[in-house]
C-alpha cells in the first residue's frame, strides 16, 4: 500500500488544485442541477418532487422535436465546414513569414473578439430582406432575394455562415499553435523526397496535428450542440418569445433559457439540459471511438 501511494502520490498532488476547484464549482452544481431536474422549482420556494414529470413534459412539448431537428441539422453542417475552413486558413496563415503572418493571424481573429451583439447586429443588417448587402449582390446576379432570417428553409444556413465567420479565427489560432509545433525537419525531409505541398499536408501535417485536430473537432461538436448566443441575438429573442420566425432557429439551449428565466421552471430547464447532455455524450463517444480506431494505425 505504501509503495502504491508513493508511486502515484506525485500525480494526484499535481491534480489536486484543479480538481478541488472543479469539484466545488463545477461538479457540485451539476449534481445539484441533476437533483433539481426531478423537482418543480422556481429558484425561491422549496422544491416540489415530481419524479420524471419534467423529462416527460419536455420531451412531449411541441417544440422539442423541432429544436432537436434544428440542432442536428445545424451541427452536421457547421462543424465539418468550420473545421475544414479553419484548417485551410491556418495553413494559409502559416505559409506566410514574418510580419504578414502575424498581421493575418491578428486580423482573422478579430471576428472572434468582437462583442457578439455587434456581430449579430451587423449580420442582421447584411441579411436584411430586399436591401441588405447579400440580397443586393444576389440581385446583380439576377438571383431572387432570399429572406435569410425569416425563411425557415434558409435560417439555419444563415446561422452557419455567421457562426463560421466568428469561430474560424478561434479554431485557426489553436490549429496554428499546433502547426508551429511541427518540426521543420519533417518538411525538409519530405521536400528532399520530392513530395508536393498537398502530399506534405496529408502525410505530415495532419498526422502530426492529430491530437490538436481531434480537440478542435470534439470541442466544435460539444459547443455547437449547445448553441445559444448567436441565434438568440439574430432572432431578437426574449425570454417569452424566442426561436425566430416559425421556429426556424429554435435550439434546445434557447428553450432551456426561456423555461428557466421566462417561466421560472428551473426543474424543466435542468431536465432538458440533461437530455441534451445525453446527445452530446453520444456524439462525443462516437468521436472518441473513431479517434481511437484511427489512432491505432
Amino acid at each position: 500500500m505504501n509503495n502504491w501511494v508513493r508511486k502515484y502520490l506525485r500525480h494526484f498532488l499535481m491534480l489536486t488544485p484543479f480538481f478541488i476547484f472543479f469539484s466545488i464549482f463545477l461538479l457540485y452544481p451539476i449534481f445539484k442541477g441533476f437533483y433539481i431536474s426531478f423537482f418543480r422549482w422556481d429558484a425561491v420556494h422549496p422544491a416540489v418532487f415530481v419524479g420524471l414529470d419534467n423529462y416527460i413534459s419536455v420531451a412531449n412539448s411541441s417544440y422539442f422535436g423541432i429544436a432537436i431537428f434544428n440542432l442536428l441539422k445545424y451541427v452536421s453542417i457547421t462543424v465539418p465546414v468550420g473545421i475544414l475552413l479553419s484548417f485551410l486558413v491556418a495553413l494559409l496563415v502559416d505559409s506566410f513569414e514574418g510580419i504578414p503572418s502575424g498581421f493575418f493571424r491578428s486580423t482573422y481573429f478579430v471576428p472572434t473578439m468582437i462583442p457578439l451583439f455587434l456581430a449579430a447586429s451587423v449580420w442582421r443588417w447584411i441579411y436584411t430582406p430586399e436591401i441588405g448587402i447579400i440580397n443586393i449582390v444576389l440581385g446583380w446576379l439576377h438571383i431572387p432575394p432570399v429572406n435569410w432570417l425569416t425563411d425557415p428553409k434558409v435560417m439555419i444556413l444563415s446561422l452557419v455562415i455567421v457562426d463560421n465567420w466568428r469561430s474560424i479565427g478561434f479554431n485557426m489560432v489553436i490549429l496554428l499553435a499546433g502547426l508551429k509545433n511541427i518540426p521543420g525537419e519533417y518538411y525538409d525531409a519530405a521536400e528532399v523526397d520530392g513530395a508536393n505541398k498537398f502530399q506534405e499536408v496529408i502525410y505530415i501535417t495532419i498526422p502530426q496535428l492529430r491530437p490538436v485536430l481531434f480537440f478542435t473537432i470534439a470541442y466544435g461538436f460539444i459547443s455547437a450542440l449547445q448553441v445559444f448566443d448567436a441565434p438568440w441575438l439574430m432572432t431578437a429573442s426574449q425570454y417569452s418569445t424566442y426561436g425566430g420566425h416559425l421556429k426556424g432557429l429554435l435550439f434546445p439551449v434557447m428553450d432551456m433559457m426561456g423555461r428557466a428565466f421566462g417561466n421560472l421552471q428551473f426543474g424543466q430547464a435542468s431536465a432538458y439540459g440533461f437530455m441534451l447532455m445525453l446527445i452530446i455524450l453520444v456524439v462525443t463517444g462516437i468521436l472518441f471511438r473513431v479517434q481511437r480506431r484511427l489512432g491505432g494505425a
Binding site: 502515484y8 506525485r10 500525480h11 494526484f12 499535481m14 491534480l15 488544485p17 480538481f19 476547484f21 472543479f22 463545477l26 461538479l27 457540485y28 452544481p29 451539476i30 433539481i36 486558413v89 505559409s95 514574418g98 504578414p100 502575424g102 493575418f104 491578428s106 486580423t107 482573422y108 481573429f109 478579430v110 471576428p111 472572434t112 468582437i114 462583442p115 457578439l116 451583439f117 455587434l118 447586429s121 449580420w123 443588417w125 436591401i131 465567420w165 479565427g169 478561434f170 489560432v173 489553436i174 499553435a177 508551429k180 509545433n181 525537419e185 491530437p211 470534439a218 460539444i222 445559444f228 434546445p252 439551449v253 432551456m256 428557466a260 430547464a269 439540459g273 440533461f274 452530446i280 455524450l281
Partner: protein
C-alpha cells in the same frame, strides 16, 4: 560580394495566396469597419441602408466616445478596470490549474486516469443554464456576490483548458523529460523546467482564448456583479444593447466598439511577443 541584379521571383501560387488572404481579410474586418464608420458619423444618418462605408464626421465620433466614457463618473473606465482584473486573474488561475492537471493526463499513467479525465470532459457537456443558478447560490452562500473572487474562482477549473492543454502536452518528447530526470529534476521540476517552457504556444493560445471568453462573458457577471461599481465591460454595453433599447444606434455602436478595442490592442501587442517566443522556443527546426 557581387551585387545580384534585383529580380522579383513571384510564383503564381504566391499571388493566389495573397489574393485569397486579402479576400478573407475583407470578410473578417468588414463589420468592424462598418461599425467604425457608424460611430464616426452624425447621429440620424441611416446606418444599415445605403450604409456610408467611410467615416463622415470625426467630431461626432469623438463626441459619442466622450459621452460613453464619461457616463456617470467615468463608470466605463471603472468597468474596464474591473474586467481587466477579472480577466487577468482568471487567466492566471486557468493556466496554473489546467497545466498542472494536463501534465499528468498527457504524460503519465495512474489509477483513475480515465475516470477523472472523462469527468472533466463530462462537465463541458452540461449547458451553463443548468448550472447557473446552483453555482450562483453556492457563490452567494460564500458571501462572494459583488466581489472579484466571486467572478473569478468559479471559472478557473476550466475543462476546456484541461482538454486543450492535454492534447498539446502529448507532443512533448519523452527523451527531453527523461534527460531532465536523469539530471535530478523532481516530478514538479520536470513540469516547471521542461514541459512549461516547451509549451509556450499552447499556453499563450489558451491565455488568449481565456481572455476573449472572459472579456465577453456576460451571463455570470450579470448575476454576480450586480452593483454598478462592480460592473464588467459586457454589462456596460448591455446598458445600450437589448431588444427594447432606447439608445440611439450610434451610441450602441460606440459602446460596443469601445468594448472591442481593448482586447484588440492587447492581442496586437501580444502578437509580437508570440512571434518572438515561437522563434526562440527550440522546437521548430
Amino acid at each position: 560580394m557581387t551585387k545580384q541584379p534585383f529580380r522579383l521571383h513571384v510564383k503564381a501560387s504566391t499571388i493566389l495566396k495573397w489574393i485569397i488572404a486579402i479576400i478573407a481579410l475583407i470578410i473578417a474586418l468588414f463589420p468592424i469597419w462598418w461599425v467604425f464608420s457608424i460611430v464616426f458619423s452624425d447621429p440620424g444618418t441611416p446606418v444599415s441602408v445605403n450604409p456610408r462605408l467611410y467615416p463622415s464626421s470625426l467630431s461626432a465620433g469623438f463626441q459619442n466616445i466622450a459621452k460613453a466614457v464619461t457616463e456617470n463618473n467615468y463608470q466605463f473606465l471603472r468597468a474596464y478596470l474591473n474586467t481587466t482584473f477579472y480577466t487577468i486573474f482568471t487567466i492566471l488561475g486557468v493556466l496554473i490549474l489546467c497545466s498542472m492537471a494536463a501534465y499528468e493526463f498527457a504524460l503519465f499513467d495512474f489509477p483513475g486516469k480515465k475516470i477523472l479525465f472523462s469527468l472533466a470532459l463530462f462537465a463541458m457537456m452540461i449547458p451553463t443554464v443548468v448550472t447557473l443558478v446552483p453555482t450562483y447560490l453556492l457563490v452567494a452562500g460564500l458571501g462572494w456576490i459583488n466581489t472579484l473572487q466571486g467572478l473569478v474562482v468559479p471559472g478557473i477549473a476550466s475543462a476546456f483548458g484541461l482538454f486543450m492543454l492535454t492534447q498539446f502536452f502529448q507532443d512533448i518528447p519523452k527523451e527531453i523529460m527523461d534527460a531532465a530526470i536523469i539530471d535530478g529534476a523532481s516530478h514538479f521540476g520536470v513540469y516547471r523546467y521542461v514541459v512549461m517552457p516547451l509549451s509556450t504556444n499552447a499556453l499563450v493560445t489558451l491565455a488568449i482564448i481565456t481572455f476573449i471568453n472572459t472579456w465577453g462573458n456576460f451571463a455570470w457577471p450579470l448575476v454576480i456583479a450586480t452593483n454598478e461599481t462592480t460592473f464588467t465591460v459586457s454589462q456596460m454595453i448591455n446598458r445600450y444593447n437589448g431588444q427594447f433599447t432606447r439608445a440611439s444606434i450610434n451610441m450602441i455602436m460606440t459602446v460596443n466598439l469601445l468594448a472591442a478595442i481593448l482586447p484588440l490592442l492587447f492581442f496586437i501587442i501580444f502578437q509580437s511577443k508570440i512571434i518572438k517566443g515561437i522563434s526562440m522556443s527550440g522546437l521548430k527546426g
